[in-house]
Amino acid sequence: MEPFKKIKSIVTPLDKVNVDTDQIVPKQFLKLIQRTGFGQYLFYDWRYEQGGIPKTDFILNDPEYKNSKILLARDNFGCGSSREHAVWALDDFGFKAIISTSFADIFYNNCFKNGILPIRVSDEILQKLFSTKSEIEVDLEDQTIMVNNTPVSFDIEPHWKKILLEGLDDIAMTLQHASQITKYERSHKI
């Protein structure tokens, strides 16, 4: 995994609560057996009319946000299905961080596994971000978001911070405990 770097970008505001992973990547695109190329299917049913014509009123189709790397979302983002395809699509589309008041558990986990940073902020900060048009800067090392020259700090589990910053392979990390796993297996009978 690539180490996570500082991001400077405008934010794409997706103004909706309880966005589920069925919306992020609809099921018709889950049949692919690779991890890449899902960006084109991101929010497919919201992004396109039947027949593949882009819906002009959907935020992702607004050219203003074309190069945005940060998605701004609302409560309980990523709920529902465990499909990691949702995160692959966000990543492939170009989002490297997602800011919201809360995330669904499995989605939250899946983000880190793919080098995407999900950031939880208070209602008040989220509101402020929804009304900003200028670029913001996300610095994981310092755990801050710079909004209009004002730093806002955020919390993150130390384990995830390390994995993202160093781009670590978590399977390799676990395999360092191979002898303990074997020991556990010997004493555990089911």
């Binding site: 589920d20 069925d22 991890r35 529902g80 465990s82 990691e84 596994k113 589990e157 384990h159 556990y184």
Partner: protein, 470 residues
């Protein structure tokens, strides 16, 4: 120290603690065709093996056709995914219940049916409804594909310890054939919300839960994820032990294990939960969802809400409900029983077990599906199908005009040819009414099997408490 059931299972599976997280041993790993191909690819790229193929079981359920299985699969992309699973299982030595196996079925239906699911164990699967297995007192987590790869390679999962959430359901349902486990869990989600359980493992407790059969308990635990929870649990009891006895993969020393489980697998009196919620079962009515998430649900006697009322002053919720009603094409104030449906789906890991089909068949017996309605029954597994056919249920459904299909996820998520057309409205026994879930532009109302069956016959929702279901 007093511990909850969750804490006991968690603690007994810790391999190491690190950085405030635990590496947990995984006793059983279930796999299906949609969320596993990238995980196997990852293993190959890194020249890694599957650590415990003997603890890993696979089936194909999400995109398999539910029509005649002697015919080839027409959808090329589905076929590629199915073949990939066959190849991966062969290469890595994993037991696979393929499309022609008598044990094929929805992964969460076959786990318990085959005795793979056991009390006090940890189970993971790349599927959010893994919570179903919690009905047996098994700590069961849905995981993403990267974690599937991690478990394949290490037989462990690294997790932060979730919080504990007690949901107590007490009292007798007035009419247990009409007010089902589905109505109980929908009532809970309606009250605590789709994020009410985020970050927690729920333990369902109380006399209402003890009275439920194992299949009904599975319906409850199944939808824990719809409340946002990491997992749902019910302490095992004699019903649990009886259910699993003599199944295909039940261990040889089962009786010995049961003795141990009887002593240990319960929440100690005095153990503390981080959060609690209590619900009385006495006044629960049959539930019908009207919106685009499972919390957007009302009693069958209710009406489609006004967004302002529903949102109770929260602008985001008001907006959400307005959009949901637009998508569902429903007018506020419409009585639920006046909602006319086009399709009926009895199926999914929530409600496609034998008891579900028996209950639904009572409503259908000797009647006909309404003329404009297309209705189908998709048994949860080949074994459910076989048992149902031995009881003659297939005949009851077919005589009434239902389609009787092969097992799989089918129209629960519409990855196979079973989908809603845009604008079609469906009474469905599945678990998600998200936009487009059952087909782009399709509209889903979540209900119990008896409610779905009654809707099929009448062409609109009816209060099944008014029917004779005994």
């Amino acid at each position: 120290m007093s511990k909850t059931l969750f804490e006991k299972i968690w603690d007994s599976h810790i391999v190491v603690n690190e950085d405030g997280r635990s590496l947990l041993y995984v006793d059983r790993h279930l796999i299906h065709e949609v969320t596993s191909p990238q995980a196997f690819e990852g293993l190959r790229l890194n020249a890694r093996k599957v650590r415990r193929p003997d603890l890993t079981f696979a089936t194909m359920d999400h995109n398999v056709p539910t029509s005649d299985r002697t015919l080839p699969i027409l959808d090329q992309t589905s076929s590629v995914q199915i073949k990939a699973l066959e190849r991966n299982c062969k290469e890595f030595g994993i037991t696979l219940f393929d499309i022609h196996s008598p044990n094929q079925g929805i992964v969460h239906v076959i786990g318990p049916e085959l005795g793979i699911t056991l009390p006090g164990t940890t189970i993971v699967c790349g599927d959010s409804h893994t919570s179903t297995h919690g009905a047996f007192g098994s700590l069961a987590f849905g995981i993403g594909t990267s974690d599937v790869e991690h478990v394949l390679a290490t037989q462990c999962i690294m997790m932060e310890k979730p919080k504990t959430f007690e949901i107590k359901i007490q009292g007798k349902r007035k009419n247990p054939h009409a007010v089902t486990a589905k109505d109980i869990i929908l009532s809970i989600i309606r009250k605590i919300g789709t994020a009410g359980g985020t970050g927690t493992v729920i333990e369902y407790r109380g006399d209402t839960i003890s009275e439920l059969t194992m299949e009904q308990r599975m319906t409850i635990c199944n939808m824990s994820i719809e409340a946002g929870a990491r997992a749902g649990l019910i302490a095992p009891d004699e019903k649990t032990y009886q259910y699993l006895k003599g199944r295909k993969y039940t261990p040889n020393n089962y009786d010995e294990l049961v003795n141990d489980w009887r002593d240990n697998l319960k929440t100690d009196s005095g153990a503390k939960f981080d959060k609690s919620f209590t619900l009385s079962a006495e006044n629960i009515a049959p539930q019908v969802s009207w919106g685009t998430n499972p919390a957007m649900t009302d009693d069958v006697t209710g009406s489609v809400p006004f967004p302002d009322e529903y949102g109770k002053g929260n602008p985001e919720e008001v907006k959400g409900a307005t959009k949901a009603l637009q998508y569902m094409d429903l007018k506020p104030g419409t009585p639920i029983i006046d909602i006319v449906i086009d399709r009926v789906f009895i199926g999914s890991c929530t409600n496609a077990r034998l008891e579900d089909l028996i209950e639904a068949s009572k409503v259908v017996k000797g009647k006909k599906v309404a003329s404009k309605v297309r209705a189908m029954v998709v048994p949860g597994s080949q074994l459910v199908k076989k048992n149902a056919e031995e009881m003659g249920l297939d005949k009851i459904f077919k005589d009434a005009g239902f389609e009787w299909r092969e097992s799989g996820c089918s129209m629960c998520l519409g990855m196979n040819p079973d989908i809603l057309a845009a604008g079609e409205r469906c009474a469905s026994t599945s678990n998600r009414n998200f936009e487009g879930r059952q087909g782009s532009g399709g509209r889903t109302h979540l209900v119990s099997p008896v409610m779905a069956a009654a809707a099929a016959i009448n062409g609109h929702f009816v209060d099944v408490r008014e029917l004779d279901l005994n």
